[in-house]
Amino acid sequence: MSGFAYHEPATWSAAQDLLRAEPDAMVLAGGTAFTLLLRQGLIRPTTVISLRRVSGADGILADSHGGLWIGAMVTHTAVVRSPIVRASWPEFADAAARVATLRVRNQATIGGSVAHADPASDVPVMLAALDAQVIVRKPNAAPRVPIDEVLVDTFTTSLAPGELIESVQIAGRGPNTRAAYLKFTLRSVDDYATVSVAARAEVVDGTVRAPRIFLGAVGARPMRARSVEAALADGARSRDFADAAALVRSDVDPITDVRGSAEYKREMARVFTERALRALVS
């Protein structure tokens, strides 16, 4: 292991200029995953561009409809503590609070979590259920891309070389919008999930409509529970939840590892999907 060229640009445009000059450079956010991968010899960067000094990258803003704009360099702790986030999407703050330990939450960032694209991470799963948009800085544009399109595979995003995650946006909620994030850990609460479920829906008088459900740690990316959503689409009540949740088994694609066998994870996906649906109407 040896040193690498290192830059701390002060603006997004300076970061983009550096990336254009060094297309193979690695982009560094909070640095937790980076340090682990570096120590394990899994990455060997020659140039690193840190975003830690990019002006305005660590802000949290709300629009007049309760929509959130969260800068890429906002830490998980900043989300957990943010009165702005708590006022519009407290469920998102609760999901961020489930990440690892206090120490990691104090360092790891929302943008870094999306860019790292670890399918067992908590925040990307919740962002997917909340239909978040990722603002991607390209050389001459900054399009909004649905996070479901950004997260394409394990540790893999749709971003091309030279592109940066600037921020994520979550639209405001309606008066009947409900959301929940459930995380099941086998060993200790700071572990990665064996399975996690993020769910959002419109709930009126106990009837669920327009559900959007994603599961973490049971596939190469946040896995959308399309079969469950379809079964619930016409307006479902709690008596329908068990049958609908059972369909999640075909929506996920877990592997056997230290956090459980594939078959066990499928079963826990069913259990926690049903619990998430119940949480929406409770």
Binding site: S2, G3, Y6, V104
Partner: protein
């Protein structure tokens, strides 16, 4: 280019160091500054033995690039006592049996210091929430919890 000069404050003293860019904060603290109170346990951010305060927030110094210390103020376990006088928290860890082998103790003290700064009179739940990720494999946590309550009452 593979080295950077960083300026930071450690336990109140200004420091300027040239560091290789792949090094971590714990490497600089222990190997360059001789502050060996900060222990390296798991090296993957789980055990909490390497906890230090960066601008008042507890982090794992095994996960922080050394370059990220530039411009910050850091407190290690050596920075808690002043003029040889232990803090009430350190005293309470001794009198309440908050440690046994001692390897986790610097990290426990750092996290407990941050807890008391945020919540001067923490509940059992707040103590558990903050201390759960600083692993102790000797004593269990009853002594640690008692020590924090005792320090909070001083």
């Amino acid at each position: 280019m593979s080295e950077q000069v960083i300026h930071f404050t450690v336990n109140g003293a200004r420091q300027e160091r040239r560091v290789a860019t792949h090094r971590r904060l714990i490497d600089v603290l222990r190997d360059d500054l001789g502050l060996t109170g900060t222990k390296e346990g798991c090296s993957v951010g789980v055990c909490g033995a390497c906890s230090v305060l960066v601008d008042g927030e507890v982090i794992s110094s095994c996960l922080l690039p050394a370059t990220y210390a530039d411009g910050t103020s850091i407190t290690t376990v050596e920075g808690l006592a002043s003029d040889g006088e232990l803090t009430p928290l350190q005293d309470a860890f001794i009198t309440e049996g908050g440690f046994q082998c001692g390897i986790c103790t610097p990290g426990q003290l750092i996290t407990a210091s941050a807890l008391l700064a945020a919540h001067p009179r923490p509940s059992d739940e707040q103590i558990d929430e903050w201390m759960m990720s600083n692993l102790c494999r000797c004593t269990g946590y009853h002594g640690i919890r008692r020590a924090i309550h005792k320090a909070a009452a001083v």
